[in-house]
């Protein structure tokens, strides 16, 4: 229970924190407003309710001549607060209230005092709690991503939540809350340590950080609220994808949610139309409204949520990996170091096909649990984009895409599927199991990745970097055996992307199984992305 050494690292009006201020192996504390921000809106709401309810009483207390209602001569004799005021015990009660307030504030202060973190060369440690002490360590070389979240309330106070995603279930380390600039500096430092690069950041980066802090506090707050990316040290990497609001709204309207909105309306309309009640508008309209309203509310709120969250979407390459930003009022900003994406799915529903829009999702070893700002699992790397957008995003995730061979395969993987496009598709007899998609259902293999192509109506291409394959299996049940088919499962960490391909020719499936196992072993040995910035591989590291 060592007392954390006090430190003047928290946001200082005179300048941003220095880049190396946190890696001194000392314990540091969080933002002073943390307890309030963690209690968050609850505190505000409770305070608002109390004030609203007591406003009358307070006014009357402050202005005794208005204590009774002038017109009706009513003095609210039943109100306990009024009774209290009349009985003369008010002072005692106020004292008690003050004492409770002091205890609560004291507890908050104590919990803030006890909550500290430190960074050494290998681990990030957090300890917290007054009665029940928690001490958590995360190894820097197992970091799967760093997430800087700024809920609206915290943004107003210039604070941010830093979440370090570590491989494993519920193994994340949260630092809530830090000063905005502190969070950015910390992210930079943690990534630098994790990358294996031991050099201190360049001088101009530090200078830029200090310069950004030299303006007044108010200016900085406004700057932080308006700036899309709070990263003074890196020359703000431009997003490779422009999210146009029109496309976002249209794609959301054309997504599955629309079906849930339209299906009940159509169903009710048909029912009403087939009965005599349909003739009478005054009967039909209320029935329609009542039966459709719940589904409509759900669908609309889902769509609005999706649009608002994705409006300021950005994705960019930084030296320490891909940075994905989301959110309008509450923002999330996540950095994925290289080699932390275990499988990628590029998918397209039937409604999106005329516009050639695609969605990109990924599987990752650590799931960010922060629902605060993003509200959804941070597995969607691109909510919607054209084919070119999808390719630009894929280039960030799969550096090997610069090879023409793999690029051609991916490009064919998004197509409708032909006989000689480099993919090994299901045989014709598989049409019993894959009615529409047997021509498309197939796989391709390159040295860098395993590609699985599925679905005719809902097209999907799954890319599994060979270096991330954990194991491979081939399976066959009685039904598949009767057709001489088999299914192959390329095992990666769990997530929204399914890495399974069914209904392949038995011989082809065995071949894929053998080849995938061989390729993955070779790629796994060659892979160096766990220390992506260490000097000996710095030249090849993706930027």
């Amino acid at each position: 229970m060592s007392d954390p050494t006090p430190d003047a690292l928290e946001p200082r009006p005179d300048g941003g924190p220095r880049a190396d201020a946190f890696i001194d192996g000392q314990w540091h504390r969080l933002h002073p407003a943390t307890p309030f921000l963690r209690g968050g809106l609850g505190v505000v709401a409770v305070a608002a309710v109390i004030v609203a309810n007591l406003r009358e009483q307070l006014l009357r207390f402050l202005f005794p001549e208005n204590f009774c209602d002038a017109d009706r001569e009513i003095c609210f004799p039943d109100d306990p607060l009024v009774e209290l005021a009349n009985s003369g015990n008010l002072v005692l009660v106020l004292l008690a209230a003050a004492a409770i307030l002091v205890v609560v504030v004291g507890a908050f202060w104590l919990s803030w005092r006890m909550h500290a973190f430190r960074i050494t060369d290998d681990v990030l440690e957090v300890k917290s709690g007054i009665l029940f002490r928690t001490h958590r360590q995360g190894r820097l070389d197992r970091i799967q991503g760093i997430n800087v979240t700024r809920p609206l309330l915290a943004r107003i106070f210039g604070a941010a939540r830093l979440e370090v995603t570590v491989a494993g279930q519920d193994a994340n380390i949260q630092l809530a809350y830090l000063g905005g600039a502190t969070a950015d500096a910390l992210r930079r430092e943690v990534l630098r340590l994790a990358s294996g690069a031991r050099a201190v950041p360049s001088a101009e980066a530090t200078a830029a950080a200090v310069a950004s802090g030299s303006t007044s506090l108010i200016d900085r707050r406004i700057g932080e609220l308006t700036a899309p990316e709070l990263d003074p040290d890196l020359a703000a990497p431009a997003s490779v994808v422009r999210m146009s609001p029109g496309r976002l709204v249209a794609s959301t309207l054309l997504s599955g949610a629309l079906i849930w909105l339209l299906a009940p309306i159509v169903a009710v309309a048909i029912v009403l139309g087939s009965t005599s009640a349909g003739a009478d508008v005054w009967v039909a309209a209320p029935v329609l409204v009542v039966s459709v309203l719940p589904a409509a509310i759900g669908a609309v709120s889902f769509m609005v949520n999706r649009v608002v969250k994705s409006l300021r979407f950005s994705i960019a390459a930084t030296p320490d990996g891909i940075r994905v930003g989301y959110g309008l009022l509450s923002t999330t900003n996540e950095t994925l170091p290289p080699g932390r994406v275990h499988s990628i799915s590029v998918s397209q529903s039937l409604f999106w096909r005329p516009f050639d829009w695609w969605e990109v999702k990924v599987n990752r070893a650590g799931q960010s649990t922060s629902q605060g700002a993003s509200g959804r699992q941070n597995t969607t790397i691109l909510p919607v984009g054209t084919r070119d957008d999808a390719f630009r995003v894929l280039e960030l995730i799969v550096p090997a895409l610069e090879h023409d061979e793999l690029r051609a395969l991916v490009s064919e993987g998004l197509g409708r599927g032909a006989a000689d496009d480099g993919y090994t598709s299901s045989p014709r007899r598989a049409a019993v199991l894959r009615w529409f998609s047997w021509r498309r259902n197939g796989f391709a293999l390159s040295e860098a990745a395993v590609l699985l192509r599925r679905g005719a109506i809902w097209r999907e291409l799954v890319i599994i970097p060979a270096a991330r394959v954990q194991s491979t299996s081939v399976r066959q049940g009685p039904l598949l055996r009767s057709l001489a088919l088999a299914s192959v499962h390329v095992h990666t960490v769990a997530g929204p992307v399914s890495t399974q391909i069914g209904a392949l020719d038995r011989g082809r499936a065995e071949q894929l199984f053998q080849d995938a196992a061989r390729v993955s072993v070779r790629a796994g040995v060659a892979d160096r992305s766990d220390h992506w910035g260490s000097p000996d591989i710095a030249e090849e590291s993706p930027s």
């Binding site: 006989a419 299996s473 990666t492 992305s529």
Partner: protein, 172 residues
């Protein structure tokens, strides 16, 4: 590719037959029989008792123990084949594991991907001197569980695998 399905002379099961598989101990047939049959036997006895008690009024009740008995016999009859279908193979870079007759499954786990090698022993397996070996990777779907290994062989295999995994350790 899909236009010319290869003509396959083999019977349509999965079988990389070239491999000479390491089989699990034949004693495991008994262990598997006992652990499978025990629960089923209790159900059969319980339903028989109820059939004896209520049989005079409800003759149809005899169908229950009869049905369970048939299932029990089928399971027991298939056990030797099922156990014989379990096999593993240490290749240069990965461990190959297979099991199943009706539902066949074949898994390849590269040594560098193993996060954990685990030995567990149930009461019946312990009485027979057997143990089971579990391999854990970062993917939950891997699910490789080699049952019916003699304890000393399981421990030897575990140590061997740990050494291999350590020497080829890759990131996640």
């Amino acid at each position: 590719m899909s236009t010319t399905p290869p003509v396959d002379a083999r019977e349509p099961g999965l079988d990389p037959a070239s491999a000479d598989w390491q089989r699990v101990s034949p004693t495991y047939i008994v262990v598997d029989l006992v652990s499978n049959a025990l629960g089923m036997l209790i159900v059969v006895i319980a339903t028989t008792v109820s059939a004896v008690v209520f049989g005079p009024e409800l003759p149809l009740l005899w169908l229950l123990p009869a049905g369970f008995l048939v299932i029990l016999i089928v399971v027991c009859a298939l056990t030797p084949r099922r156990v014989r279908s379990i096999g593993y193979l240490l290749r240069d870079d990965d461990l190959l594991f297979r099991r199943g007759i009706l539902f066949q499954r074949l898994v390849a786990v590269p040594y560098g991907r193993m996060q954990l090698v685990d030995i567990t022993r149930g009461p019946i397996a312990r009485a027979a001197g057997l143990a089971e070996l579990r391999l854990v990777t970062a993917a939950a779907a891997t699910g490789v569980l080699i049952p019916g290994l003699p304890l000393d062989e399981a421990e030897r295999l575990r140590d061997h695998l740990v050494v291999l995994a350590e020497s080829r350790r890759a990131g996640l």
